[in-house]
């Protein structure tokens, strides 16, 4: 970091949670330009949101100083506080809650992602098992499906797009919900001849480049996959050697799959049977350089879990695990011959209280890494399984990301302390008692990130410029709270440099080793396990379990009979949401440059349906569900299924301090009434939302 002159700082972006490696040009203590880190990306490529980080850092409409509520919750009356005032207040409230109700009465809600150790360490040291993150509204069903079937998370395997020859994407808008490297690799693969099939309820920029594109009846992606599996088994298209060695439950799969022929799926999905057969054969011809992408968007139905399982079944049948062009296992420090990077969480004693959301005891097949944050308001209201009195939200905004914010708020009202720590103004912050401003990613150094993958590396987010305003880094905020709460010993550092040196102590790597490239590679080449004997599936059997012991042992069937998704009641439509390349849902909407490109969302309506409704592009429509109405402009298009309407998620911000995004477009999650609930996969059934549409008089 330099106060004068020019400097180059390598760091990690967080304009979205892909966290691309970046190169920051600094001049006279100011961010001059942000690029992709060429040492990792092979060039200075960086998505538009990453580039726009510069104006985010300079924006006056971000959190500037600690604020304490000076009126009722949500009333929007605030007073500026000093850090000491705010931290003392929070510590007193937390202490009171812990003394009276126990450590489990405190909950930490996190955005999740790579940098979670500090937050997890903090809540654990307080004696609470209640770490929740946003995945219940995102990819929980995918994580949990892969966990039951292969003992892995969604992201403990990487797609080898560079060498892939055939890909099927299900609503995974890979070219609009951009990770810089992933998008570039995908385009490189297309240029090298990779074929891909895109399935979605609507067209998008990814679909525009597909070899085959089908608009599927909403919620029937699972039926499509069942017919693929049916064809693969019937026509003997699977990788027999791989399946014999690594798969348990083929017999049960065969018994189950009989009725699900392509003709059946055609009636269910609208995709022609001959196309389904062709896709099964095309994929099989190119296996194992094939990826059935697990995705995480569009099909969050009640049975989403079984749909995600079917994706992993297809991947296993094609033998893609650890195959060139398929799914490659992520490896960490040990696989590369290094001692592990030290983490804070293991330092404090084990917590044996059960979780508030039932994960791990009521729902034994679901992972505690994600939890089910949708259960929090009910636990608070019913004091079941015990009283919950304090919520710390670290970049966690359930009122934006989860369905039905009104229902969520009902629970939050009963809290004794609601704290939000964020860089942005958030809906949860607006209702909080105290808001603490974290400094932006350009203004702070974070603990070391172990970037697991086929080629593991250590990455570092490094401070490029001094914090603007009275904002502080995360490591400092949690350390300050820990000291006040008598758990300081579990945070053995005074500066971030001390913390990093402690983390790296056993690895032989030094902080200065990050200077040159921003990352430290742990292996020059890909580490690949032996496909015959070396694959590590962390299931009880060590194999891929189509018949899952984790499910069967907990009374959950591995192969329940297919249930057709609900059709919208007459005059109603299924609301589906998604993303575009210039925004990270609600968090970037107020960015001056990104807002300039897409300041509002619209509602996509199928042409035929729009005619029946008398709606044309540009008309304002009222979208309503059970007493909630949102207004938005219509976009009429041929390229959406008539049962569905689509909008971009996260618009309709209701924080007046965000002047550019305030009340622009419609707030989709307010329409998702009654959808704060658990499903078998741990996800909220976000797309089980049926809306009425009327042209505004």
């Amino acid at each position: 970091m330099a106060d004068t002159g020019r400097a180059t700082v390598y760091s990690i972006c967080v304009m979205c949670t892909v966290r691309c490696p970046i190169e920051v040009e600094v001049e006279n203590g100011q961010v001059k330009k942000i690029w992709g880190n060429p040492h990792v990306l092979g060039g200075r490529h960086l998505c538009p949101r990453g580039a726009a980080g510069k104006v985010f850092q300079n924006d006056s409409e971000r959190l500037q100083y600690p604020m304490m509520r000076d009126g009722e919750r949500g009333e929007g009356k605030w007073k500026r506080a000093t850090w000491d005032e705010a931290l003392d207040y929070i510590a007193d409230k937390l202490k009171a809650s812990i003394d009276k109700y126990g450590g489990e009465s405190v909950v930490l809600g996190d955005r999740g992602g790579g940098f979670t150790d500090l937050q997890k360490a903090f809540i654990k040291a307080l004696g609470s098992p209640n770490y929740l993150n946003h995945h219940g509204a995102c990819s929980s069903s995918v994580h949990n499906a892969h966990n039951a079937i292969a003992g892995h998370r969604r992201n403990t395997v990487a797609y080898d797009f560079k060498n892939c020859k055939y890909t099927v994407l299900y609503g995974r808008n890979i070219l609009e919900s951009i990770g810089t490297k992933e998008a570039k690799d995908f385009i490189d693969a297309l240029e090298s001849g990779m074929k891909f099939v895109h399935i979605d309820v609507r067209w998008n920029y990814t679909a525009a480049k597909a070899d085959r594109f089908f608009i599927i009846r909403p919620g029937t992606d699972y039926a499509f996959n069942l017919a693929l599996i049916n064809t693969i088994l019937r026509d003997n298209l699977y990788d027999a050697e791989f399946v014999d060695r690594w798969v348990l439950g083929m017999k049960e799969l065969e018994e189950f799959i009989g009725p699900y022929a392509p003709e059946w799926a055609e009636r269910e999905t609208g995709i022609p049977a001959k196309e389904i057969r062709a896709i099964a054969h095309e994929a099989a011809d190119l296996k194992p350089a094939v990826v059935f992408n697990q995705g995480w968007m569009t099909a969050w139905t009640e049975n989403d879990y079984y749909f995600r399982r079917s994706i992993y079944i297809l991947n296993a049948l094609m033998g893609v695990y650890e195959a060139k062009g398929g799914l490659l296992f992520s490896k960490g420090e040990a696989a590369a011959g290094y001692k592990p990077v030290k983490m804070l969480k293991p330092l404090s004693p084990k917590v044996d209280r059960k979780r508030l959301d039932g994960v791990g005891w009521k729902y034994k097949h679901l992972s505690e890494d994600y939890g089910m944050a949708q259960m929090l308001p009910y636990a608070i209201l019913k004091e079941d399984p015990y009283p919950v009195k304090a919520l710390i939200c670290y970049r966690f905004d359930p009122l934006s990301s989860f369905p039905d914010p009104a229902a969520y708020l009902e629970g939050l009202k009963k809290l004794d302390l609601l704290l939000s720590i964020d860089v942005n103004y958030s809906h949860i912050g607006w209702y909080s008692d105290v808001v603490l401003p974290e400094c932006t990613y350009l203004e702070r150094t974070d603990p070391v990130l172990v970037k697991k993958g086929p080629k593991p590396a250590l990455w570092l987010r490094r401070q490029a410029v001094e914090p603007k305003y009275d904002s502080k880094p995360k490591w400092w905020i949690f350390k300050q709270l820990a000291e006040r709460l008598g758990i300081g010993e579990y945070f053995p550092y005074n500066t971030i440099e001390e913390l990093i040196e402690w983390q790296l102590q056993d690895t032989g790597i030094k902080l200065s080793d990050f200077d040159e490239k921003g990352v430290v590679s742990l292996s020059d080449k890909q580490i690949l396990w032996d496909r015959k004997d070396g694959l590590q599936f962390k299931t009880p059997s060590g194999k891929i379990e189509f018949l899952s012991s984790l499910l069967e042992d907990n009374g959950i069937p591995s192969f329940p009979v297919y249930e057709s998704p609900k059709k919208p009641p007459k005059g109603q439509y299924r609301l589906v949401t998604g993303k575009i390349g210039v925004h990270t849902q609600g968090t970037s909407l107020n960015n001056p440059y990104l807002n300039e490109i897409q300041s509002e969302n619209t509602l996509w309506i199928n042409t035929g349906e729009a005619e029946r409704l008398g709606v044309a592009t540009g008309d304002t429509v009222e979208v309503s569900v059970k007493g909630v109405t949102q207004e938005v402009k219509a976009s009429v298009t041929d390229h959406i299924h008539p049962e569905a309407v689509f909008t971009l998620h996260g618009y309709g911000r209701e924080i007046p301090l965000q002047t550019r995004a305030y009340q622009k477009g419609m707030r989709d999650n307010t329409l998702m009434k009654g959808l704060l609930k658990p499903t078998v996969g741990g996800n909220c059934p976000i797309t089980e939302c049926f809306v009425k549409i009327k042209k505004k008089p």
Partner: protein
């Protein structure tokens, strides 16, 4: 004379607008104007799939720039050594004649200063041996900094590879 060209590979372009953002953050362009723009045209169904064309619109830095010809003060000028067309803001009087003259909408209006500004192919970066920001930052390397002749060669090569693939017994 101008021997620069930004080649846009349509097959690689994903319409993400990173070019616009890298441009704006390099030149600190205020909200409103934009030195380059991606214009999505479509979708239109071709062979069963709705395709879209992302048209990249920077300044083309014409060999005979009409904006320079009509500028009454000499503010709009063409750099001798390489033909880059840019504005000397100290001379611009805000008459907007260049905006009228340019058929492609390249000159942009800066309402804060009442003057015109525009794409200069990042000439300060070029002088340092770098490429324009839109090219450098492009997410998928769809934009390439080439000569017009190289762009023609790239197009020929792509076409040739495309037809060769369809010859059955190559």
């Amino acid at each position: 004379m101008s021997d620069y060209y930004i080649h846009q590979d349509q097959k690689r372009c994903i319409g993400c607008r990173a070019c616009e953002l890298h441009c704006k953050t390099t030149h600190d362009v205020p909200v409103g104007p934009s030195f380059c723009k991606i214009i999505p045209v479509g979708p239109e169904v071709v062979g069963g799939v709705p395709r879209i064309h992302f048209v990249f619109m920077p300044c083309f830095h014409c060999e005979q720039p009409w904006c320079v010809a009509v500028c009454p003060t000499g503010a709009m000028n063409q750099r001798q050594k390489d033909g880059i067309v840019s504005v000397d803001r100290s001379l611009c009087i805000g008459c907007k004649t260049c905006i009228t003259a340019c058929p492609w909408g390249a000159p942009q209006w800066d309402k804060e200063t009442g003057k015109v500004f525009k794409c200069d192919f990042c000439k300060d970066r070029l002088d340092e041996g770098l490429e324009p920001s839109c090219v450098t930052g492009c997410t998928t390397a769809a934009l390439k900094w080439v000569t017009p002749a190289e762009s023609s060669a790239l197009r020929r090569e792509r076409f040739a590879k495309g037809i060769a693939k369809d010859i059955p017994d190559r």
